[in-house]
Amino acid sequence: MPHVAFVLIALVALGSALGLVLKRNPIHGALFLVVNLGCIAALYLTLGAEFLAAAQVIVYAGAIMVLFVFAIMVLIPGKEETGPDPRRPWRVLALPAGLILCMLLAAYVVTVPPSPSSGVPAGGVEAIGRLLFTDYLFPFELTSVLLLAAMVGVLLLARRRPS
C-alpha cells in the first residue's frame, strides 16, 4: 500500500514538473509548481517529517508561490516566448544534457552503498525543535539576520528612483 501511494504521488510530481517546464504560459507553470510542491509535502509526510510538510505548504505553496503569481501578474510576461527562438540549435542540446546528468546522478544513487540504518525512527516536531534550538542554534539565528537583510534589500531594489 505505501508503494502504491508513493508511485501515485511520484507520477503526479513528475507530471507537474514537466508541465512547469513545457507549458508556455507562466501562470500555468506556477500552478503546476504548486501541485509539485504539494506532492513533495505529501512525500515528506510519508517519510515522517510532519513539520517539514507543514512548513512546505505554508512557506512554499503559500508565501513563495503567491509572490511568484504576484510578480507574473505585475510583469504580464509570456509574449517573449511566443516568437521563434533565435537560439534554438543550442537549446535543443538541453535534452541530451539533462539526460546525461540524470544518468550520472542515477548511477551514483544506485551504486552508493546503503548505509546501515540506525533503526531509530526520526522524531517528529518536538525533536526538530530541540535540534534547531540546540545544535543548530547559531545558523537558526543567522537565518533571522538573512531574512531581515533580504527584506531591506527588496525594499531598496523596489524603491522608485527619484528621476
Partner: protein, 100 residues
C-alpha cells in the same frame, strides 16, 4: 516500507527536469520556478537520507534551505521587476551585458 532509493530516484528526476527547464526557457520567472524545483528535489534527497540514517539532521538542513529559498525568491523577483522597469522586456536573451 518504501525504500529510500525510490525517493532518491524521484529526486534525481525532478532535479534534471529543473535543469532542463533552466536551459530551455527564456522567461526569467519560469527559470526561477525551475530553480525552486531543483531546490525541492535536493530537499527531498536530504529528507530521504536523514530518514535512512534515522537522524533529524536532514530535516534541520531542509528547514534552513527553505529560509534561504524564501530570501532568494524575494530578492530575485525584486531584481527581475527592477530589470523589467528599465528594459520593458522580459527575456534572458536580452540580458547579455555582462557576457564574456
Amino acid at each position: 516500507m518504501v525504500p529510500e532509493t525510490w525517493y532518491l530516484a524521484l529526486s534525481v528526476a525532478l532535479f534534471c527536469i529543473g535543469v532542463v527547464g533552466v536551459i530551455i526557457r527564456r522567461n526569467p520567472l519560469v527559470i526561477f520556478m525551475s530553480i525552486e524545483l531543483m531546490l525541492n528535489a535536493a530537499n527531498l534527497a536530504f529528507v530521504a537520507f536523514g530518514h535512512r540514517q534515522g537522524s533529524n539532521d536532514g530535516q534541520a538542513v531542509v528547514f534552513f534551505v527553505m529560509a534561504v529559498a524564501a530570501a532568494e525568491v524575494a530578492v530575485g523577483l525584486a531584481i527581475i521587476v527592477a530589470i523589467f522597469r528599465v528594459r520593458r522586456r522580459l527575456s534572458v536573451d536580452d540580458l547579455s551585458l555582462m557576457r564574456w
